[in-house]
Each structure stands twice: as C-alpha cells, then as structure tokens.
Amino acid sequence: MDEQDLKLDGNAAAGLFRELFAFELTTARGRCDNCGAVAEVGAVAVYANAPGSVLRCPQCESVLMRIVSNGGRYWLDVRGISWLEIRA
C-alpha cells in the first residue's frame, strides 16, 4: 500500500462535518489559498489515516484544512482555505 491508496475524498469527512456544521459542507465550495483552485468540499482529497483528518487541494495538494477531535473537543486549522461558500 502506498500513499495513493490512502487518499479518500470529501465524502469521507461528511460525518465529521455533520458533527460541527448545521449545513451540508460537502456541497460547499472552497478556494485553495495556495493555488486559487475552487472545488466543492466533496471533491477535495482527504487523508484520514493521521491522528486527525487532513484535507488537501485536488489541484496543488496544499493542506486546506486539518481537523482533530478528542474527548468532545475539536481543533480546526483552516488557514489553507481563502473562503468557503456554504449554501443555506
């Protein structure tokens, strides 16, 4: 197994997002702060084999978001995303 086999997509983080957000996040669009690519969250790469989940840009592979949860607390690092457009 190599790194490519570990690559999932935004669907794999959908349950985690539902714990945190009142709107469906996998259909939200976000902009990669590194390369400017815009994609729906469902289409970004997700690596869930770390202690948390790491979301990466499908174009340039920069880290978009890191989410770690433990004992009822969540840590969100979203500095890789310029903006998120969430459809209410």
């Binding site: 086999d5 690559k7 999932l8 935004g10 669907n11 959908a14 349950g15 009142a22 996998t26 459809r87």
Partner: protein, 250 residues
C-alpha cells in the same frame, strides 16, 4: 427550534434493528434494518456504523446506503474484509434481531436525484457499486426515464453484487444499459468486457462529450483511473462526481 433554509438537524447515533440478512455473494451481505424515526435519505448517501467492544473500544466505518429513498426499510451492503475490524462482524456474526448503532444519512456531494436529470453514467468497482445501485433503484422507483448506463467492474461474475436485479432492471427498461467488466475470470462464451476499465472502454460506454453527469465509486486507484479517463474522453471535471473507498474500509 426550526432552523431556516436547508439547515440540518443535529446528527446523533441511533439504533437500528436487523430485520433481514441477504447473502449477495460469498463475501458480501446486505443488512436490512428497521430504524425508528429514520429521517429519509437521498440516493448516494451513506451511514456511519459504530461498534463498541466490552472494554469500551469503539470502531466506526462508513457504509453506502443501498436502498432507494422510496424503500420502506434501510439497507446497507457490506463486503467482508478479512483483516477488517467492523465488516467481519457485520457480515458474519450479526443475526436478525440484533441492534446496530448508526447515524445518518450523511453526505450531499455524491448524490443523484431524478431532478438532476442525465444522461446518467455510473461506473462502479467492486462494492463501489452500492451507492450507484441506490441511484438505479431510486430511478426505477420514481419511474424516471433518464437514459442511464452502469459500467460495473468486478473480478468475476460470482462477485457481481445484485446481479439478478441489475439484469432484470436492464431487461425491463429500455433506458437502462448494464455493462460488466470482469477483470480476473470470465465464464465461457463471455461477451462483455474482460479487462480492467480503461480509456477505450470508457470511450465506448460514456455518453457523447459534454452530456450529463457521471458518478464513479470504488477503490481509490479505480476511481482515479476512471475519473481521469472520463475527462480524457470529453467529460468536464465538474461533471464527474467521485467517491473513494479507502483501504481501511473494513
């Protein structure tokens, strides 16, 4: 409190009771569940299933919903992975009447509803066919006439899940074509595809460039190959929705 717009209610774990177990293939079983207060789902969504050991250790996995939104009971289809933590229990130990902890429905990106139209191209590898079959069941139950093709890659005919139902749906419905690619073993006289899905197969199966939507589900490498191939034969990346099953799906 009523939330505005499409706000979702808080997701919580709930118990479903196993009402029926269906052997699909030697390694694949469908669990039909009674879930009180199930809020309904859309074709392509999944549920999370959580098992708790006596010492409190928990393991959680996602499973695509196999049933149509129109069906009375919720069905998930589980492939047994021998070194898995969850799937051997679900596929072998579980009996009718057992309770299962689950939450859902989850996801919105890999979803097809009849209003989205088509033509609809579905490409599944192995148990990646499950959410695609939910879409086909939804299409059939709603009487939609959207032209649809399913390309289903499996190792052998014996490993094709829902085979009787797929063949029946394809026979009854002029708008639906089901094509198989058997990658390892083919029965004598097999006239379908006898290799892994490649650009040539996609060129033959895909709708003319720019038409409709495509959903691709399966192991990561399969999904990448097919998604790249569809773009190579003329689909725009935005027309191709993907769902990857990881190696830890067990």
């Amino acid at each position: 409190m009523k939330l505005p717009g499409r706000a979702l209610s808080r997701i919580t774990w709930q118990l479903g009771e196993v009402a029926e177990l269906v052997d699909e293939t030697p390694r694949v079983k469908t669990l039909i569940l009674e879930v009180p207060d199930w809020p309904g789902h859309r074709a392509g969504q999944h549920v999370d299933v959580r098992l708790t050991a006596e010492d409190g250790y928990q393991a959680q996995r996602s499973y695509s919903i196999a049933s149509a939104p129109e069906d009375e009971r919720l069905a998930i289809t589980v492939e047994r992975l021998d070194d898995g933590e969850v799937s051997p229990y679900l596929a072998e130990e579980l009996v009718v009447g057992d309770k299962l902890e689950l939450r859902g429905p989850i996801g919105g990106y890999f979803v097809w509803e009849t209003e989205q139209g088509g033509p609809l191209l579905l490409v599944g590898g192995g148990s990646g066919v499950v959410p695609l079959v939910a879409m086909l069941r939804h299409r059939a139950a709603s009487g939609a006439k959207v032209p649809t093709r399913l390309l289903y890659s499996a190792r052998s005919l014996e490993e094709v899940i829902y085979r009787d139902e797929l063949d029946r749906l394809a026979t009854e419905d002029d708008g639906l074509e089901v094509l198989y690619a058997l990658t390892r073993e083919q029965p004598q006289g097999w006239t379908g595809y006898a290799r892994r899905v490649d650009d040539q197969i996609l060129r033959e199966v895909a709708y003319p460039s720019g038409e409709g939507v495509a959903f691709v589900c399966g192991p990561t490498r399969f999904v990448e190959t097919v998604a790249d191939g569809l773009v190579a034969v003329g689909y725009a990346p935005e027309q191709v929705r993907t769902e990857r099953f990881g190696p830890t799906g067990g």
